[in-house]
Symmetry: C2
Subunit: 256 residues, 2 copies
DNA sequence: TACTTTAATTACGACAGCGTACACACAGAT
DNA sequence: ATCTGTGTGTACGCTGTCGTAATTAAAGTA
């Protein structure tokens, strides 16, 4: 895990934790226990939260931003296996899981996260039946998302996957966020040029607008039409695990 | 779940369960409890074990054969998300998991499996801390496999993935098994013609031999050279969860 | 204002895998 | 011995995405 500067807003200040959907869905006692030891840090774009092989000292509850879980291949290529946001967490599912990061976690869209020592999380989850239940449901949702992604990558077009990625980012950070085409290209494992063509298509349709790294989602329903159904499958899976997304941060209206 | 004829070898006969690596790695008490209610059935090629949406009445512990976990897309296409064999099981991870199959399970290479009512499995796992532990480790290994597969499908060639598929099948059923090119093509989501070209390449190298649906793995080390490293990553993940594979069923020697 | 840097667009040939299709070959049945 | 069904080999043109790279445009800096 990278060295961090100071935590945000005094650190020991009790954060509400409301930005994290998984934390929000934990029973109050477990949540309070976790929040007591939590420190809020910024997640900066490009930052490596954990590298494959690192010892997992903290569980990272993402409040906003998009982190991609990256598989490092033998030839050095980085391939995104999944994305993580406020519905989930990085590291130590709890209990007797491996203490070592299996993959690399890379911040793609900036945000903030609560860092909690894994011993604290383990204690909270071990003692609380309901909390353990939430964790197991989250684990199921993560597996569901990954299985769907495997199928998605196998048969869906770069355009469909780009739309899905942007929709998921939108769910996690809202209408406006910083995202370069090169970053999206890395995430999707396609050329920057391909992303350029795809995004101008989205913009021509009025789904998005962007300008030098500043992405704006104008109409998520138009964007949804470019995406495959995998967006729905994955989203519903997480909703079932940690409850529906709080405020959808949607500016545009659903189609008539 | 499809209607089955009679169980194999009398049904109530206590099966050893040694063919199932996950069963073998459970503590004796839990394993005995599960085996008491287990019935062995054949898995026939092409058979649908569960269809997405089916109620999961039984947990299916695979002893031999290859089952593919298939995502049914909106347009009706079937895409393999993962393969399952003796290291794992189908259905009800236990505890408060969903009682409904999220995907479709299709037998690709014939074998046998133990069918156990999920209530029995739940009871065995709920009461036994060590058994729950094994299940959680298996869950981790399944997620690991799926994340690796997502990356694999994204960047590795059809040839590499075909070699991986055959290696994994070899681990689960041994040197000889029935497998048509059309079946492998469906599993990999490529044309049968592509499989034909790939397999003649493998055969020319001496890695495999085949004749009208009869596949024979001649030299798994040669086959490994055609594969990507994803085979190792996934295999090691399962070995860590349920112990090393029993007898590798290898006829050829490792390279010098 | 002019210069520099970084982001985005556009273009070209190359290639893996596609869809289709047809021809061949072996196994079992008559 | 021949026929028939099924599994396999091979060929054609097509498309999406690749790798590379040159061009344009906007933002920051002097």
């Amino acid at each position: 895990m990278g060295e961090h500067a100071d935590p945000i807003e005094g650190g020991t200040t009790e954060p509400t934790g409301i930005g994290s959907r998984i934390l929000a869905s934990l029973p109050p006692a477990a949540r309070a226990m976790i929040l007591r030891d939590a420190q809020r840090y910024p997640l900066d774009a490009g930052e490596v939260v954990y590298e494959a092989g690192d010892r997992l000292t903290h569980s990272v509850f993402i409040e906003s931003g998009v982190v991609s879980e990256v598989t490092v291949l033998a030839d050095g290529r980085l391939v995104e296996s999944s994305t993580i946001g406020n519905e989930s967490k990085i590291g130590a599912s709890s209990l007797l899981m491996s203490q070592v990061a299996a993959r690399t976690y890379l911040v793609r869209v900036a945000g903030t996260a609560l860092f909690v020592p894994i011993q604290t999380v383990d204690a909270a989850v071990r003692t609380d039946f309901e909390a353990r239940n939430v964790y197991m449901k989250l684990g199921q949702a993560m597996l569901n998302a990954s299985l769907q992604s495997t199928a998605c990558v196998a048969v869906h077009s770069a355009e469909q996957r780009a739309a899905r990625w942007l929709l998921q980012a939108h769910d996690r950070v809202g209408d406006d966020f910083a995202l370069k085409q090169s970053t999206l290209a890395e995430a999707l494992c396609v050329r920057r040029a391909t992303v350029s063509e795809i995004c101008s298509g989205f913009a021509a349709d009025g789904a998005i607008a962007y300008r030098r790294g500043a992405m704006h989602v104008q109409d998520r329903y138009r964007l949804r039409r470019f995406s495959c159904e995998c967006y729905d499958v994955i989203t519903k899976g997480f909703d079932a695990a940690v409850g529906d997304a709080p405020t959808p941060a949607v500016t545009s209206d659903p189609p008539a």
